[in-house]
């Protein structure tokens, strides 16, 4: 597992790299969604608060909001996902990253779940 990865209760993950928060959805989330066929990404430069809907994923069976796990400004989106939405299923922590944010409040990172806490959390759901 990636070091220093944290999880939000809506199953997004965050990794901080050189002051930028990289965000995606967890392996658990992609398995629940099934085959992902499209994603609607936010615009670069737009600002999101914690828990605001930041992207919409369509899988074959359902549509799902992706929630912003750390407040901030979108500095980059993974445009490759427009052609390859299945990367979110196949590589949720690497090729399937969704957005990069410049966090407005680094403290929010500490409020997210650690890998162990998240595993316990999903253990209780399943």
């Amino acid at each position: 597992m990636i070091e220093n990865i944290r999880f939000a209760k809506e199953h997004e993950w965050i990794v901080i790299k050189e002051g930028i928060a990289i965000m995606g959805i967890s392996d658990f989330a992609q398995r629940q969604l099934g085959d992902i066929v499209s994603i609607e990404l936010p615009k670069v430069g737009s600002i999101f608060r914690y828990m605001q809907s930041i992207a919409i994923i369509d899988s074959v069976k359902a549509s799902s909001d992706v929630y912003c796990a750390m407040s901030g400004e979108v500095v980059e989106v993974n445009e490759e996902l427009l052609e390859h939405p299945e990367w979110i299923n196949q590589s949720p922590y690497e090729l399937g990253w969704i957005v990069k944010l410049k966090p407005s409040n680094m403290e929010e990172f500490n409020n997210l779940m650690t890998n162990e806490q998240y595993n316990k959390f999903i253990g209780e759901i399943e």
């Binding site: 099934g34 085959d35 066929v37 499209s38 609607e40 919409i56 369509d58 074959v60 069976k61 549509s63 427009l82 299923n89």
Partner: protein, 358 residues
């Protein structure tokens, strides 16, 4: 409720869902898209034992069915099947079903799982006095083997005295498979060549035998998720989504199943005089969002209809579906669909059929 194959699905890694009270496989470990594509390329095995199966017998069974359904039962001969809606007096659809004629006094009817009780009650109530209707759903298992390699697979399965090449679509035979009595019909719900197998519900090992024999043909079990994307691509409707008790066969592409030249059938009068204001059409969304049942359809900012079925087409790699629109809407016209509160452009197509097999 569980079909005879319930535990087998779990052993194949199925993700289950509750489908009208039935615990059924949504998909297996391959996922919906792989199962869909495998059906179009190789062969898939579906458990469809949740569907209702009735036996309709008696000296006037033929007359009973001819009155009950809109399509013409006289087109049937022994060992042939007929698709038809079954309607109320007001022409609204109770269900769509397939009638298999074993002989003039013995028929097998297959109905949607969601309508089993409703259909049984209606058919019993409106059958003539010498007709006996029996629900045999629990006695008989039903599997669907679908895909271009389905015949190749069945030919290996020790079927007695049968040349499958001569079995035409909507025809069936009573035979043996792996030594077990079985009805094999050339029917299906995927738009591919394929077969449906009816046999004693205790003989669940037929599943394992087919999977084992099918490995050279890349057989995969496929769930209800792929069943839905396959039928949508093929232009086949689903009761509950595309038609319900508010729909007549004339509003959806089922006009061909209503035989007005028949002397009489339940719903004939209402259908003869119906004013048709809406029609079911196929659409493709221009962006990549997937439309879903219930999404509003707008034309010039006015709500004019709604989506009845929407999904992603793995073959076309597009978001497709069926929707109701006013009868004046033309092919290639652009509509807007409200998905999750935002409007997305879609194009009305000239057909509800998105895919045709080679």
């Amino acid at each position: 409720m569980k079909t005879p194959f319930h535990d087998i699905h779990k052993s194949f890694g199925a993700k289950m869902l509750n489908f009208h009270g039935w615990e059924m496989p949504l998909h297996y470990s391959s996922g919906i898209i792989n199962e869909h594509l495998n059906t179009r390329t190789n062969v898939s095995l579906f458990d469809v034992s949740h569907m209702g199966r009735f036996e309709v017998k008696g000296t006037d069974a033929y007359d009973s069915l001819q009155t009950l359904v809109t399509n013409d039962v006289s087109k049937l001969d022994n060992n042939m099947a007929l698709y038809s809606p079954i309607c109320y007096d007001n022409g609204r659809i109770i269900d769509d079903l397939i009638i298999y004629m074993i002989n003039r006094e013995k028929f097998l009817i297959v109905v949607n799982a969601s309508n089993r009780e409703k259909d049984l009650e209606w058919i019993i109530k409106h059958s003539k006095s010498a007709t006996i209707v029996e629900d045999i759903s629990d006695k008989i298992a039903l599997l669907a083997l679908q895909g271009p390699l389905a015949q190749n697979l069945l030919e290996k399965a020790a079927i007695v005295d049968v040349n499958l090449t001569q079995l035409k679509p909507f025809h069936f035979i009573l035979t043996n498979i792996f030594g077990i009595e079985c009805i094999i019909s050339r029917t299906g719900y995927t738009g591919e060549d394929g077969f449906e197998l009816f046999f004693d519900s205790s003989k669940i090992d037929i599943w394992n035998k087919l999977v084992h024999l099918g490995s050279t043909f890349n057989i995969k079990p496929a769930g209800l998720g792929a069943r839905d994307t396959l039928r949508l691509e093929a232009g086949l409707m689903l009761y509950g989504n595309d038609m319900d008790e508010n729909t007549t066969p004339l509003e959806v592409p089922l006009k061909w199943t209503v035989k007005f030249e028949k002397e009489d059938f339940i719903g004939k009068k209402a259908l003869t005089t119906q004013q048709i204001n809406r029609k079911l059409v196929g659409f493709e969304v221009i962006e990549k969002r997937v439309a879903r049942h219930g999404n509003e359809v707008l034309l010039n900012s006015q709500k004019v209809g709604f989506v009845t079925s929407g999904s992603f087409s793995p073959t076309l790699k597009k978001s497709i579906g069926f929707c109701f629109v006013p009868t004046y809407v033309l092919p290639n016209q652009l509509i807007e669909i409200n998905i999750g509160g935002k409007l997305y452009k879609a194009k009305v197509l000239s057909s509800t059929r998105f895919y045709k097999r080679k």
